[in-house]
Symmetry: C2
C-alpha cells in the first residue's frame, strides 16, 4: 500500500493532527468576540498567522487564511485585477499553471479581460524573456507557479519577478507545490498556497498580498481576515496548517536530499526497465518528490487501475483517466507524450523500499496493459501515395498503436495518414514521432476528426 | 465558566469530534482520484451528503458543501441572481437577515441591482403580506432567514414561501440558526446553513438548490461539488458536520423543551430582577435557546466585560461593543432599545444551574455598571419653550441617561431636546420613550448631530 500522489494531497502530518486535536478545544469560538473563548481563539489565530508569515517570509498583516488554495488563487487574482483595473485589463499566466489559475483567467476573459498564456519549453519551464515579451502597458497582473504540479519543473520565479518588477507589474506566485520545501524566491507581489499539499489539513489556503499592491476584494466581503476572505475562520485547521508548515520545514533540507535520490532512481531506472517510455519534466531544476513519465501504447486509466491493484496510488495526465477526455493541459503545453502518463509524487518519509517495489512491479504492469490492448484490427487503404490508418472512433492509445504497427509497411520517405477523432492524438502522434525519430508532417482537415501525417524516416 | 453564545458558534459536539478524528485517516485524499485512498474519501463524502440531505429534506444531488455558511449564502444568492438575470435584477431581503445576506445584497446593488429590504415588527418578524407587496415582475430572488440570530424570532417561512411560489419567485432560506432543531418548513427553493452553529466543526456550510431552480455559479468554478463550490473538499470536517447534525437532531425534541424552559425563565425573571429592562424578540414564536434583552442606562461593552469577569460569555448588539460603532441592524429594524443589549444563546446541554447563577449575578452586574457611569455633568439651557440637553460628543448610553435625569424637571406637556451625535441615540431615545410612556416627537436637524425631541407625558 504505497501512496505516491502527494502532489494531489499529502497525508496529514503527525504534527498537524496533534495541533488540530489540541485546538479543537480552544479554537472553536468566534475570534471577533471579546469574552474568554473568543480571546483564546484570537490568540491561536494570531499565533498561526505569525508562524505562517515567518515561513512565507512576509509580514503577518500581509497574510490571510482562505478556505483552500483554490480560493486563495481565485481571490488573489480577482483582487489584483480589480485593484489595478485602471491600469488595464490584461493578465499573463503560464500555459502550465494549476487549473485554479486557468479557471480564474477564463472567468476574467468571460468578463471582457484579455489573457496571454505564456508557452513553456519541452521541459515545462517558462523563460523570463517570454514573460517580458508578454508584458504590455495595460498588464494588470502576471501569474507564475513556483513549480509545476504535474511534472515538478521549477520555474524561474526570481527572474520573472524581476522582469515584472521592472515593468511595474505585480507577480502572483502560486507556491502550492513548493512552500513546504522553502519560501518562494524573488521579489513577488502576491503569493498563494494550500495547506493540504504540505501535510496540513484540508480547508486552509494562504493568500499573501505585499504592502503597496493595489488590491480590491471582489464580491461580498465581511470583517474577517482583513476583508479578504469572508466567512467564519476555521481556527483548528489554521493552527494545524501553521504548525505542520513549521514541522515540514524543519525536515525539508534532509528530506529533499532523500526524496530527490528516490525520484532520481525512478527517472534513471524506468527507461531501462520499460521500453518506449518518455520521462518528462526538467531533470535538474525540479521538485524533490515528483517524477513523471509516459508509456507508449498504454491506456492511462488501465495503467492506474493495475497499479492501484498492485498497491500503488499514482495519478495521470492521460486523456482517458477518470472523468476527463482531454489530456492534461500541462503535457499538451510541453508537447510531450500524454498516453500512458504516470505522475509519481512521493510524500515525505516515503521508504526507499516502496520505490524499489514500484520499480520491480512497473515493467510487468505496463507489459500487461500493452498485451491486453493486443493487436486491434486495422483497416488500411491506399490513398494517393500514402497509407491511411482509420482510427476513427478509437480512443487513446489505439491511434498511436495502429500507427506504430504500420510505419514499417511503408518505404522510408513515404507518408502514413492517421485518421482520428480523439483529441489526444493531436498531442501523442507528434510526441511519438519525436520519440521514434520519425517526421511529423502536420495535421490535415478530414470529414471526421483530423488526418495526422507522418513521414517514415528510419 | 458559562458559554452562552451558541448563536455565534457552538462548542464542538462530542459526535463531531469523534467523526472528525476518525475521518482524518480516511478522508484526506482527493475524492476525484480513482485509487483506493481517493475512493475511500469519495465514499465518506457521498455518505455525508446523503446524511445531510436527509436532515435537510432534499435530494443528495441538490446539496453541496461550502467552506462556511457565509460562502453558502454568497454563492447561493449570486448563483440565483445570475441564473435568473433575464427575469430581472430585483432582490428582496428582510431587514433583519444575517450580515452575509446583507453583504451579498450590497454587492448586488454595487453591481447595478435593486434591493428591497422588508421591514419587521417590533418583535422582529416579517409578514407574508409585506413580502407579497415587495414582489415585482423583475424580482429574481427573495431571501428570508428561518429564525433571527440576534433575538431568536422565528419567521413565517412557510407563508412567505407560498407567496413567493405563487409569484414564481424562488425563496432562499438562511436556516443557519434553526437547522439543528429541524428541517426548514415550506416550499423553499434554496437553503443555506452553517455547521458550527449546530456543534459541527468550522469550515463547513451547506448550499441546497432545488431541482428546477435556475442557477448559474459565479466566478471561477472547478469540477468539485457540482461546480458550485470550488476548491478541495474538507472531507473530515464534512463528515463531522453531517454526523453531528444527525446527533443533535436525535436530541432536538427533548433539548428544545428543556432550553425553552430555561430561556423562558430568563425572559420572565430578568425584568423582575433588573429595573429598566426590555426583553426583545417574539415571546412565543422563537428559537428554544435564544433570549435577548436591553438594559437602560448601561454601556454594552462594560456589561459584557463584567459578565465575562463573572464567568459568562454572551454577545451584544449594542453600539459600543467590540469594534463596531453602530447598533445592531436587527435591533434598529425592530425599533427596540439597543443600549445595554445582551443576547444569551444557550448551547445544548447547558445545565439549569448555570442559568440560575446567571440570574443571580446579573442584577449586581447591571447595577455596578450603572453606578460606574455615575451622574455625568449636564449642561442645560433654555431654548424657546424647551429644555435642551447637550450630549454632543457623548456616547451611548450617556444621552439617554441625561434625558432620564432631566425629564422630571420640565412640566408635563413640555419638551426636552437632546442634542446628540451618537448614531445609537436615533434608536435608543425613541425606544426609551416607548418604555417610559413619554412621547417621542421626532428628530430635528442640528448644526452637529441631531436634536431628538421628547414630550413629557407623565
Amino acid at each position: 500500500m504505497s501512496y505516491f500522489d502527494a502532489a494531489s494531497a499529502a497525508p496529514l502530518h503527525p504534527v498537524a493532527r496533534q495541533a488540530l486535536q489540541a485546538s479543537l478545544d480552544e479554537g472553536w469560538a468566534d475570534p471577533a468576540r471579546l469574552y474568554r473563548e473568543g480571546r483564546r481563539a484570537r490568540l491561536l489565530l494570531d499565533a498561526a498567522r505569525e508562524a505562517a508569515a515567518e515561513a512565507v517570509g512576509c509580514r503577518p498583516d500581509e497574510l490571510v487564511f482562505t478556505p483552500s488554495g483554490t480560493r486563495a488563487v481565485h481571490s488573489g487574482i480577482a483582487g489584483v485585477l480589480a485593484g489595478r483595473r485602471r491600469v488595464g485589463r490584461h493578465l499573463i499566466v503560464s500555459a502550465v499553471e494549476h487549473s485554479s489559475v486557468l479557471h480564474a483567467a477564463e472567468a476574467f476573459e468571460a468578463d471582457g479581460g484579455t489573457v496571454t498564456r505564456v508557452p513553456v519549453s519541452r521541459a515545462g519551464a517558462v523563460t523570463p524573456e517570454t514573460y517580458g515579451e508578454a508584458l504590455r502597458p495595460d498588464t494588470a497582473l502576471a501569474c507564475l507557479q513556483s513549480a509545476n504540479h504535474e511534472v515538478g519543473t521549477v520555474q524561474p520565479v526570481t527572474e520573472v519577478a524581476a522582469v515584472c518588477r521592472a515593468a511595474g507589474v505585480p507577480l502572483l506566485v502560486d507556491a502550492a507545490q513548493s512552500l513546504g520545501w522553502g519560501p518562494a524566491q524573488g521579489d513577488w507581489s502576491v503569493l498563494t498556497a494550500s495547506a493540504h499539499k504540505w501535510g496540513g489539513p484540508s480547508g486552509v489556503g494562504l493568500l499573501v498580498v505585499r504592502k503597496g499592491v493595489r488590491f480590491a476584494p471582489r464580491g461580498p466581503v465581511d470583517e474577517r481576515e482583513s476583508g479578504r476572505a469572508a466567512g467564519f475562520e476555521n481556527i483548528p485547521a489554521i493552527v494545524a496548517a501553521a504548525a505542520s508548515l513549521r514541522a515540514v520545514r524543519a525536515e525539508a533540507a534532509a528530506e529533499a536530499v532523500r526524496l530527490r535520490e528516490l525520484t532520481e532512481r525512478i527517472r534513471a531506472r524506468v527507461p531501462e526497465l520499460v521500453p518506449d517510455v518518455e520521462v518528462v519534466g526538467d531533470p535538474v531544476r525540479r521538485l524533490p518528490g515528483i517524477v513523471t513519465f509516459s508509456c507508449l501504447y498504454v491506456d492511462g486509466e488501465a495503467l492506474l487501475h493495475e497499479l492501484d491493484h498492485a498497491g500503488f496510488s499514482v495519478s495521470s495526465g492521460s486523456s482517458c483517466t477518470s472523468s476527463t477526455l482531454t489530456p492534461s493541459h500541462v503535457l499538451k503545453a510541453m508537447g510531450v507524450l500524454s498516453e500512458g502518463n504516470v505522475r509519481v509524487s512521493l510524500p515525505t518519509a516515503t521508504p526507499a523500499e516502496e520505490v524499489d517495489r514500484f520499480l520491480s512491479v512497473l515493467p510487468g504492469v505496463v507489459a500487461g496493459v500493452r498485451k491486453k490492448l493486443g493487436a486491434p484490427s486495422v483497416r488500411t487503404a491506399a490513398h494517393e501515395d500514402a497509407l491511411v490508418v482509420d482510427a476513427l472512433g478509437k480512443r487513446c492509445p489505439i491511434p498511436v498503436i495502429e500507427l506504430a504497427k504500420v510505419i514499417g509497411d511503408v518505404p522510408v520517405g513515404a507518408l502514413v495518414r492517421v485518421l482520428s477523432d480523439d483529441e489526444a492524438a493531436r498531442l501523442d502522434i507528434p510526441a511519438w514521432c519525436e520519440m521514434r525519430g520519425q517526421e511529423y508532417v502536420g495535421e490535415e482537415p478530414a470529414p471526421r476528426g483530423a488526418a495526422y501525417v507522418v513521414r517514415r524516416l528510419s
